[in-house]
């Protein structure tokens, strides 16, 4: 599933922009969750952390592997979904809603430039040989 109201990174994070507050909410996509398999561990950044697109802001682990999480935008972490780490089933149940991970304050809508639209993300998935 690729919701129409979101933007996507190539590393399978999604971003939802709240224009009024200049806050981007992020999480990981359906596809990423399905690829990981059983998710057994999640580490999120601290509130106040400055994040960019290049540095990992957290880690998500399955039984077999640990995968870095990247911020889809640059900005400051203002809120994290703390209960999520103890309720990892929520991720597979509702990855785009209750499964949100981090809220980041951005300068403006420009922070989302370069992210993929839903169509572009779908093409990205196909191009990588998966669907």
């Amino acid at each position: 599933m690729v919701p129409e109201d979101l933007r996507y990174s190539k590393t399978h994070e999604w971003a939802r922009f709240d224009a009024g507050a200049n806050i981007v909410t992020m999480g990981i996509t359906d596809f990423a969750i399905e690829q990981l398999g059983d998710i057994v561990f999640l580490e999120l950044p601290k509130v106040g952390a400055q994040v960019t697109r290049e540095t990992p802001l957290g880690v998500i682990e399955s039984v077999k592997a640990a995968v870095d999480l990247f911020a889809p935008v640059m900005g400051e972490v203002v809120e994290i979904n703390t209960p999520l780490a103890d309720n990892l089933e929520t991720l597979s149940r509702d990855p785009y809603g209750q499964g949100w991970m981090v809220r980041i304050r951005v300068a403006g809508a420009g922070a989302l430039s370069g992210l993929l639209t839903p169509d572009e993300y779908r093409k990205h998935l196909e191009a990588e040989g998966r669907h």
Binding site: G37, D38, V40
Partner: protein, 884 residues
């Protein structure tokens, strides 16, 4: 992925939607749609089914096969009897592992070696190279023609039993083998596995049959499990994975075999192995390993590090390769060899009542190669993503010793002492104790049905005598040859007890029909220990200067077939039986049981065992017993074979039944009789040893040794109070025995019939009335024994749970053991056991409480029979009572 090899079940995995991955050149299922975590949990709670056909299977045949296996493997191949398997390691000259493996002996002349898929070619090449020195050995690679499945978990036994067409499951212990038929084809079945599950089965079957058997097991309830969960399960069980805990480490260094926790079980230095590859290096490792176990502070040249289980306490996952630091994070002490997050089922309740709930949780665990000076409990840190996560070394993550479940052991879940109770004045404690004792006595003596077969209520006379004056005195005495073997007493004031002992010996000699009785032992197990000690003493009479030799071979009843604790190596016998050089285990061989009645000894089959093993000691007697012992038959065989065996009958439970209604041991040819004087016998809690011999007999030497090993060998003070009580009990036995014994045996049969009639599953031979003793055994369902016994106790019916011969151990007990002797003494007769059986069925089958009817019923049976009562001795008992 098409260039990878496929097992015969590949199609099944794909059809089930498995995520396929490459492993050692094979395309194998990593996980099925439910995922690794779910598969792990299903194995631990139900049953997991694994396709392990990718592993290598080599068959060794020919003269010299054992010699070659001894040369190329770490374990003692000669210790394998047909029907046994062992863990073993293919090793190199340096004491490192080429591969770990399992060796199976399904047939007399054939050995099956199962190796890891990743090392199959390497192992084959190595074995072929070694084979050059063993030209008569034939090694066949059966890996393609033979498929292999693994079925593991608490329901595995039930599922497998449901698909067997012929043959039976292996004995209920690890490494036992059997041959069966499933789906029309022969399957080699082994109780082995790689998950830590106590109920575990691996099977070898023709390739063509694999799919059909897979389907049968899946429709029987088994869940397919992939390589992902195979790894999490073995990690939780602390089992090594080649390439991580064995073989070569990430830095390319060889892992010494003894660094791996399972090495001990895989390595043997038995002289039967002769010289073998890597022996010297392995021996050096072993020497240092022994020093490490003794916490020797000396140098660690060969084993600077050992692999130990670790538990992560912080929020992080330790994975292979992560550095392990000493607490404080200053010093690197090792690295993680395997690690991940594994799931477990949460439990509710404690000990035997612990149940799996529907909830699960995760824990981060691992195995780590760390400084060999570290020990369990030691806090450490694991470096995860540049930060130090708190962790601790633990002794294990999982235990397999309480079947039917493998039980996760969580670090930090140990009981902590609650807040200290507020101080109570001493007199308050005294009052409370006296009140509790009174309440307990009222409960057991007036409100319960006491059906525990090893228990008896002694008469008021016996009980009173037990607390009269000699109860706290000493009366040590010994035969002195200078005085024509008269007993010389070391203490004064002993005339009374000396007379009592003599009278007791007279009564017991009359009761047992023998010439000699030793009464100073204070329990049945002590009696047995004294006899074992006496036997060893006699075996070494001619040589008192070198190390005494132990008993070379013993024939007994194993504990799972009802044999008593004392007769097992883990009990009293352990100190007195030698190790068999071939098996490197205590030299004990079990009595065979009848195929259709595991409670009955197969006397005919004993001839071959006697001829083959030539035991020095034969121990009859059981604590779960439905039939008399074949003493007479065995005596005849022993004489015929000209064996020097001592026939010992530990009568324990059945001492009170000695006589024409049950059996007369000395008449049948027993050399020694031991017994508990407090089960079917009316006595206080003591033991006795009896023999029927005279000074001119050969056996007299043994008798003298029995006396010596009783005193001063086992006792100093021999508890004179219960000795006095026992004399009264002996009078009662001799006076009332005929009526009592007949009633006990009739009552047992009546109870058995009534229980059967009420719908319970009564063990034993229906043609014989199910029981020929005071006991009745009832099967209530695999592992359901403890709960049934608990619920019966809540209804004031006191019985005990017991494992049947086909069950792994007491935690998996599926039976109840009942005895009628005590209630017979309270006046119950055949007809009375009808209502008893009904009340038992009400609790066990219908889940109701029977407490009130039981209490009401018991009120009819408050007076002890088969003793001297009322006017006969009232006045004298009063007098004694006043004297306390």
């Amino acid at each position: 992925m098409s260039e990878f090899r496929k097992t015969v079940l590949h199609g099944r995995h794909v059809a089930l939607g498995a995520k396929m991955v490459e492993f050692a050149g094979w395309e194998m299922p990593l996980q099925y749609p439910d995922g690794i975590v779910a598969e792990h949990l299903k194995t631990r709670r139900f049953a997991g089914l694994f396709d392990v056909s990718h592993m290598g299977r080599f068959i060794f045949r020919g003269a010299g096969a054992v010699a070659m296996l001894q040369h190329v493997l770490t374990n003692n191949a000669a210790a394998l009897d047909v029907g046994q398997a062992q863990y073993t390691i293919i090793l190199n000259e340096r004491g490192g592992a080429i591969d770990d493996a399992y060796l199976y002996r399904f047939f007399e002349d054939e050995y099956l070696l199962v190796v890891n898929a990743a090392n199959r070619q390497k192992d084959w090449d190595h074995l072929q190279a070694v084979r050059a020195d063993f030209p008569q050995v034939e090694i066949t690679d059966a890996s393609d023609g033979v498929a292999m499945l693994s079925l593991q978990g608490p329901l595995s036994k039930e599922i497998l039993a449901g698909v067997l067409e012929s043959g039976s499951l292996p004995e209920p212990r690890r490494n036992a083998l059997s041959l069966v038929t499933i789906s029309g084809c022969r399957v080699l079945l082994a109780r082995t596995g790689y998950t830590g599950e106590p109920l575990c089965f691996e099977m070898f079957l023709p390739r063509e049959a694999a799919a059909a058997v897979w389907d049968l097991l899946v429709s029987g309830g088994a869940s397919p499990v992939g390589l992902g969960a195979r790894d999490t399960l073995r990690l939780e069980a602390g089992l090594p994975l080649y390439g991580h805990e064995l073989g070569v480490d990430p830095e390319g260094r060889e892992i010494p075999i003894f660094a791996c926790p399972l090495a001990k079980t895989a390595v043997s230095f038995s002289p039967l192995k002769g010289e073998f590859i890597g022996r010297a290096a392995l021996q050096r490792q072993h020497e240092e390993f022994k020093r490490i176990l003794q916490h020797d502070p000396g140098p660690r040249e060969v084993l600077p590090r050992l692999i130990m289980p670790i538990a992560v306490l912080g929020k992080a996952i330790a994975r292979a390769g992560a550095k392990v630091l000493a607490a404080g994070g200053k010093e690197v002490v090792g690295y993680v060899t395997s690690g991940t997050m594994v799931p477990y089922w949460k439990t509710q309740g404690e000990r035997l009542a612990a149940q799996l709930t529907g909830e699960t949780a995760l824990r981060a665990i691992g195995l780590a190669m760390v400084d060999s000076r570290l020990r369990a409990g030691r806090p450490i840190q694991v470096e995860v993503r540049g930060r130090a996560a708190e962790a601790v070394i633990v002794p294990f993550h999982l235990r397999s010793d309480a079947p039917p479940y493998a039980r996760p052991v969580l670090h930090g879940a140990l009981e902590t002492k609650g807040p200290a109770a507020p101080p109570v004045p001493m007199l308050g404690k005294v009052h409370r104790l006296l009140d509790m004792a009174a309440e307990d006595t009222v409960w057991r003596q007036r409100e319960c049905l006491n059906l525990i077969p090893s228990e008896m209520t002694p008469s008021p006379a016996v009980r009173l005598l037990s607390v009269m004056d000699p109860a706290f005195r000493y009366a040590e005495h010994k035969e002195v040859r200078a005085f024509y073997n008269a007993e010389i007493f070391y203490y004064q004031g002993t005339d009374f007890i000396e007379a009592v002992e003599r009278m007791l010996e007279d009564e017991l000699r009359a009761y047992l029909g023998c010439t000699q009785v030793e009464t100073r032992v204070i329990s049945g197990q002590m009696a047995n220990t004294a006899v074992f000690s006496a036997l060893v003493d006699c075996a070494n009479l001619a040589d008192r200067s070198t190390e005494p030799r132990r008993l070379r071979q013993v024939l007994n009843h194993p504990i799972l077939r009802g044999g008593h604790l004392s007769a097992q190596p883990m009990g009293a016998l352990g100190d007195f039986v030698a190790r068999d050089p071939k098996t490197e285990r205590p030299a004990v061989v079990p009595f065979p049981a009848m195929a259709d009645n595991p409670y009955r000894t197969d006397a005919a089959a004993c001839r071959e065992i006697l001829a083959r093993y030539r035991p020095e000691l034969i121990i009859f007697g059981k604590s779960m017993v439905l039939h008399p012992e074949p003493v007479g038959e065995i005596r005849a065989m022993v004489s015929e074979l000209g064996l020097e065996a001592v026939l010992m009958y530990d009568m324990a439970h059945v001492l009170g039944l000695v006589g024409p209604h049950f059996q007369e041991p000395f008449k049948e040819g027993a050399d020694v009789v031991t017994g508990s004087t407090h089960k079917t016998f009316f006595g206080t809690q003591r033991g006795l040893i009896a023999m029927n011999c005279r000074p001119e007999d050969e056996r007299w030497t043994l008798w003298e040794a029995v006396r010596r090993r009783t005193f001063p060998g086992s006792v100093s003070n021999h508890h004179l109070g219960t000795l006095l009580g026992l004399l009264m009990a002996a009078y009662e036995m001799n006076h009332f025995r005929d009526e009592y014994q007949k009633q006990v045996l009739a009552n047992a049969r009546a109870l058995a019939q009534a229980l059967k009639h009420g719908g319970m599953n009564v063990a034993g031979d229906p043609a014989l009335g199910y029981t020929q003793t005071h006991q009745v055994v009832v099967q209530v369902g695999y592992a359901k024994g403890p709960e049934a016994a608990r619920r019966l106790e809540e209804s004031n019916i006191i019985v005990n749970y017991q494992a049947c011969p086909h069950e792994e151990g007491f935690t998996a007990a599926g039976a109840l053991r009942l005895g009628v002797a005590e209630m017979t003494r309270f006046g119950m007769r055949e007809a009375d056991f009808g209502p008893v059986a009904e009340m038992i069925a009400d609790v066990v089958l219908r889940g109701r409480s029977a407490k009130d009817p039981v209490k009401a019923f018991r009120r009819n049976f408050l007076d002890l029979k088969f003793c001297f009562t009322g006017r006969e001795i009232e006045a004298r008992l009063e007098r004694l009572h006043h004297l306390i």
